[in-house]
Amino acid sequence: MLTILLQRLAQMAFVMFGISVMVFLIFFATPGSDPAARIAGKNAAPETLAAVRHDFGLDQSLPVQYAVMMKKLFVTGDLVSFVNRGLKVVPAIVEATPVTLSLVFGAALLWVAGGLAIGIAAAAFRGRLIDRLLMILSLTGVAIPVFWLGEMTNLLSQNRLHDTLFFSWVPALGYVPFAEDPLGWFKALLLPWFTLALGFIGLYGRVLRASIVEIYQEDFIRTARAKGLSESRILLRHALRMSLVPFVTMFGLDFGALVGGGALMTEVVFGLNGVGKLTYDSLQSLDLPVIMASVLYASFFVVVANALVDIAYLMLDPRIRSN
């Protein structure tokens, strides 16, 4: 078990290194373009360009440039945006991280719980009316775009019905740090959580139902029936665990991608200044240092989430544990 974990950790470090090299090469070694010009932004003065060249070691070899960049990102943390004059990139990301983490963690809790509930209920009543209704509802959930749902939620809770009993508790858009006001944090995030989670609840419910129904074809389910177990026990103790493998796989990918900036639409709609919003803004202004840093940050979370998924496999299936 421990060796598997250590192996995973080493693999993670290696993958991270690979990603950083690739990202670096894309930005700094694309033929026919001058990285200095891109870092300095449009219409930069010749002095700025010279300063950038010197600052990023662009007159030196590629490995040195890579080392300088990594030093700026991880050691000194003094990477500065030239487009957005004087913005310190690393602190900006550090500041945005708790917003994104709060949003995605809360939504993840909701969608895991909702996906489990829908998948299990639909599988238990498969072929019957409840199953069909749940599947139609989840398909609807999957089909509703997040930005539309977010805007509609805002329209109702911030404008039209804000003064009614239902929505008078909803605070103004924006993020409230947990440390300052836990209740305010919760109120500010509740609707964004539901908005972000809805599509995932539908998707995960459908995937879970499909994999439970598939597991029901297995011989060991027949054995469980022949043992005289109750249907609920067969579902929860014999079918569910193996059915969770695709569920967990998807969760790892989605969670990593969302923390890494994929929640940007929810963040933009609800005025949450998270990593997604930061990436979105930097893409609009082609702010190379910020893009570079946020891509690396995102890849970190994707890699970590995948490692956690592998550990979850170990817990779910003893067959993986032993080899």
């Binding site: 027949r222 029936r225 043992k227 005289g228 103790r237 193996m242 067959r319």
Partner: protein, 338 residues
């Protein structure tokens, strides 16, 4: 005469298919007495497994339609509620399934799975159930029960897993044990051990056993009575010695002739019944075996009568007088393959 442990009358099973209902089993009747071993033989697709699964309520009710009557200790299993069936399954009728490699839930330990069954049917405490599980594992000849109980199915060999499945089936002292080709997936040496085990269990616990197989060798070794199935029907039924010494139905001739002889000159090639069993939706009218039968008569286009004798019957037009002639004629034609 006491009533048999299990009495199946006119069992019919059909499955929903694109072309409407397809009959898999038609008016099947048989019985199992207390303490006897009944072997059900027949090729794959003859409906052996489906017949018993339908009785236990293990077929998917959305696609399978089951009619008839299956009285187990006087209760009709086909009319029983799901709750009643759950009480009978695993407690009074236990199932040993064909493939031990896939019959156990991969994510739970062996001990956990046996304890689960014991605790479902009895009020034993966890500790007592665990002790019983270890005892059972010992009884089926597992050398280190304590270690095996803590292992997962994938850590055991096929033979070991089949022992575990048998131990689990026995955990509540069932009065009827259904073994669905319990040795097909195993090595020959392990097969012999598993059969030995089943025989010992019958002796020690006095349970009745229904053994589904397509191996006539296994039948000769294990059975008190034999039920030969073809195309969803019983084509012949009788005591084991009677079936082996004087088979009535041409299909049974074929099954017996395809066993390699133990002594005498080695045959150049073994006999095999020509053709393959018909798909359930393409069964011919009249006698289902007719297209493959070496002794087919013109009247075989009609539904064959059931020939009856003391304690046995066969579904065929050939009666007592015609049988020996027909069989020797069939033998000759076997020796000169077309």
């Amino acid at each position: 005469m006491t009533s048999p442990l299990l009495q199946v009358r006119d069992l019919s099973v059909s499955f929903a298919s694109r072309k409407g209902q397809t009959a898999i089993i038609e008016t099947l009747s048989f019985h199992v007495d207390e303490g006897e071993t009944l072997c059900i033989v027949g090729e794959s697709g003859s409906g052996k497994t489906v017949a018993l699964m339908s009785m236990l309520g293990l077929l998917d009710p959305r696609s399978a339609r089951v009619e008839g009557e299956a009285l187990f200790k006087g209760r009709n299993m086909l009319q029983a509620s799901e709750r009643e069936l759950q009480r009978i399954r695993g407690r009074e009728i236990a199932l040993i399934s064909q493939d031990p490699m896939t019959a156990l839930t991969p994510v739970h330990t062996i001990g956990w799975q046996i304890v689960e069954q014991i605790r479902t049917h009895t009020g034993l405490s966890r500790r007592a159930a665990e002790a019983r599980a270890l005892e059972l594992l010992g009884e089926v000849g597992i050398a280190r029960p304590r270690m095996v109980a803590e292992q997962y199915p994938h850590q055991l060999s096929g033979g070991m897993r089949q022992r575990v499945v048998i131990a689990m089936a026995l955990s509540c002292n069932p009065s009827l044990l259904i073994a669905d080709e319990p040795t097909t997936a195993l090595d020959v040496t392990v097969q012999a051990q598993v059969l030995d085990l089943l025989r010992r269990l019958r002796r020690d616990f006095g349970s009745s056993i229904v053994l589904i197989t397509h191996d006539m060798g296994v039948v000769a070794e294990m059975a008190d009575r034999v039920l030969v199935m073809y195309g969803g029907r019983v084509v012949e039924e009788g005591q084991t010695e009677a079936i082996f010494s004087d088979p009535w139905h041409p299909y049974t001739w074929g099954l017996l002739d395809s066993i390699p002889p133990l002594d005498g000159p080695r045959p150049e090639r073994l006999f095999s019944i020509p053709g393959s069993p018909p798909q359930p939706d393409r069964r011919p009218a009249g006698c289902i075996f007719r297209p493959r039968c070496r002794a087919a008569l013109p009247e075989c286009n009609l539904a064959p009568p059931r020939q009856r004798g003391a304690d046995r019957n066969a579904l065929c037009f050939l009666d007592e007088g015609e049988r020996p002639v027909a069989r020797s004629a069939a033998r000759r034609s076997e020796e000169q393959p077309a």
